[in-house]
Assembly symmetry: C2
Homo-oligomer: 193 residues x 2
Amino acid sequence: MYEQLAKSIGDKVTLTEADFEVCKTFFIPKKIRKKQTLLLEGDVCTYNAFIEKGILRSYTTDEKGQEHIMQFAFEGWWITDLSSFLMGVHSTFTIEAIEDSELLLLTATAREELMDALPVFERYQRLLLQNAYIALQTRVNSALTATAEEKYTKLTISYPDIIARVPQHMIASYLGLTPETLSRVRKQINLRK
Amino acid sequence: MYEQLAKSIGDKVTLTEADFEVCKTFFIPKKIRKKQTLLLEGDVCTYNAFIEKGILRSYTTDEKGQEHIMQFAFEGWWITDLSSFLMGVHSTFTIEAIEDSELLLLTATAREELMDALPVFERYQRLLLQNAYIALQTRVNSALTATAEEKYTKLTISYPDIIARVPQHMIASYLGLTPETLSRVRKQINLRK
């Protein structure tokens, strides 16, 4: 159950086996089924979730009832509504499983205690935040400057897992395109192959 | 010259005066004039810049030569091209002064050394990254779901400094609107007052 977490931490910092055993005690394992929600928009987000197995997505719903996907998260990734998790405000996102998933949950208090107990975990968190910020900035930049085709092509290169495992209408929502536009773009790309 | 930095760090963590004196030695003070660039798109970003005085912006230019603004940064804020700064890749953004500005520059090496010398500085960096990530996520969410008027209204509430000190055409670029749309939105809001 903790293989992906060990790998994620080990990729970024050096943690002894004994320290990792300490680290594990701060997490709450949880299984959720496809389409189950971990967080409902408007609730306070209690957990930062690490994904051992499966896929989750976070999304917000606009006034017209249309869903807009903020993030997908796979094995080895973290997902949360960060502002709600850290500041205790109402969440902007719903977090839901796209496949049956196995999670390791960390409360905000456990996270603080873990960073105090193992300073190397604070470094790991800082490095995660750096990567998350860079990924999000790349996404904003792409949303501002790229055409529909460029957006989709970049996604296929950067995150082939999303293309392979996530339904088309969710990919369209993530890219800020209508399903029809995405379908047209995919046909154009296939014609050129 | 270091007042804003002392305030920014002191707002987030506890640092003794002696430690702050050590901290200061890692920074390079620099003044730049309005319209001068700190970083040119395509170059490697050598500095993370803390702003003691002034305003800077980061922007990217698309194939049609149109500028898209990623970020504004005021007194007490940091600005950099994070992926270029941390990974040494070519930058996606140009960083330029909107007003005559006074900066404190930190190289990637100095930043690492400073975090090793003062672990509390690593905590400060982590907290900065958390806030930056939340701000960027709010921006993505707003770009996906908000109307032009909602985007502008949110900006006036969250960042009145941007409205007061930044030219209109740059605000339009930041919001992903044409200057004409922004002008129309502002008229509609004023009519209702």
